[in-house]
């Protein structure tokens, strides 16, 4: 049996973290709060591992759904004015493969963001008189002319795979997407993903925030290797499936520290989101944990 261990000191460090991040410290009364989820996750680890998790959490970005518009338009302002000025039309489309645009049974985060933006108030945004929000590829084909720019939007860009596949799926259907008329805009992007998209498609990615890898690009010297080894050990403690499914250190070793509207992308370190029936996580992707 594992010894469930959180010392008084660790608890105060968690408290300090929550105050720093402005995360709520609230009582659950039989409901699992973020605070409880976080403590429960730390209980699985020994003190050295707990310290690593707390340290990484200081850089953790938790974007709430009510911050979406602000985050997104801040990213929009990172697009050079020359690009937006030189066109007559700015088309926003969710970053979705063409074959997925018709699927109505599963809402993707890019579609949700697209809806929030198109239904929101954006009159104050520069060049908003050129905006056109469309979801359908047929509409795009009709609208995509000279002096038009297509902006694919999504909440998060991890390894860039979705962006690459989306662009090639449109090109396969003879929709003329080029690095000149197509860009990608996200709220948060991983540095490696931005580079991947640029080299694989030629298209530029703009984002409100661009983050490097949580350990490899942040820690220094021997701390990198030892922390990576420790993280792998922590993953093993939660579930062997993390390694089997290739999620170790996040999908494609992205080492992301992000959660979007209370749901983590799989690029985030799995210790933050992987849940089992008995082990609860602070920022779950899917709620697996069952109250016993």
């Amino acid at each position: 049996m594992a010894i469930k261990n959180i010392t008084a000191n660790t608890l105060l460090q968690i408290n300090e973290l929550f105050e720093l991040k402005n995360w709520p410290i609230e009582l659950g009364n039989n409901r699992l709060t973020l605070y409880q989820r976080f403590c429960e996750r730390l209980r699985v680890f020994d003190s050295e591992e707990q310290l690593l998790m707390i340290r990484l959490s200081r850089n953790f970005e938790r974007v709430l759904i009510q911050q979406y518009t602000e985050y997104f338009w801040l990213g929009y302002y990172n697009i050079p004015t020359e690009i937006l000025e030189s066109v007559d039309k700015i088309i926003f489309m969710p970053l979705l493969k063409i074959q997925d645009t018709k699927k109505k049974n599963k809402t993707k985060s890019s579609s949700a963001l697209h809806y929030i933006l198109s239904s929101g108030d954006y009159d104050w945004v520069d060049y908003s008189n050129k905006f056109l929000f469309i979801e359908d590829a047929a509409d795009l084909q009709r609208e995509l002319k000279e002096r038009t720019i297509l902006i694919f939007i999504d909440d998060f860009l991890g390894s860039g795979g979705t962006a690459r596949d989306t662009i090639s799926s449109f090109i396969e259907k003879n929709i003329n997407l080029t690095p000149v008329n197509t860009i990608i805009l996200t709220m948060i992007a991983q540095k490696q993903g931005v580079i991947n998209v640029k080299t694989q498609t030629g298209c530029q990615v703009f984002s409100n925030q661009v983050y490097g890898r949580g350990i490899s690009d942040t820690f220094e010297g021997h701390m990198i290797d030892s922390s990576i080894a420790l993280m792998k050990e922590m993953e093993r403690k939660i579930a062997p499936e993390i390694h089997k499914n290739g999620w170790s250190l996040g999908f494609e070793q992205t080492e992301a520290l992000v959660s979007m509207s209370a749901k983590s992308p799989n690029n985030t370190f799995p210790v933050f989101w992987y849940e089992t029936k008995t082990k609860v996580s602070p920022f779950p992707r899917y709620k697996e944990f069952k109250y016993s």
């Binding site: 049996m1 010894i3 469930k4 261990n5 959180i6 010392t7 008084a8 000191n9 608890l11 105060l12 460090q13 968690i14 408290n15 300090e16 410290i25 609230e26 009582l27 659950g28 709060t33 605070y35 409880q36 403590c39 050990e233």
Partner: protein, 105 residues
């Protein structure tokens, strides 16, 4: 807060012990934190640069509570920071390879 769990709390602060006994007692983690903060306000504990410790005032408070509880041998302290859960009758303990790695080195 009742006297018995409060004594526990102060001892947990003193030894940087596991807060589990208080959780088992029915407190939530967020409650335990506010209890610790409360002891800080009372001057019984101090948290500085990521380190929590008991103050001389806190030690006196522990003594006072112990006397009140009328423990038989107040000079013998249970080492609560080393307390672990007892094994079930049929349970076999096999340590994780990781934790006994030093035996093979």
């Amino acid at each position: 807060m009742e006297e018995a769990p409060r004594l526990r709390l102060l001892k947990i602060i003193k030894f940087d012990g596991n807060v589990q006994p208080l959780i088992d007692f029915g407190y939530e983690f967020a409650e335990v934190v506010s209890l610790i903060k409360n002891e800080e306000l009372l001057g019984n504990a101090i948290y500085k640069r990521g380190n929590l410790s008991i103050t001389p005032k806190g030690l006196i408070e522990i003594e006072r509570l112990e006397k009140m509880n009328g423990r038989k041998y107040p000079w013998i302290e249970p080492q609560i920071e080393s307390k672990i859960h007892p094994l079930e009758k049929d349970e076999v303990y096999i340590p994780k390879r990781q934790s006994i790695r030093h035996l093979f080195d």
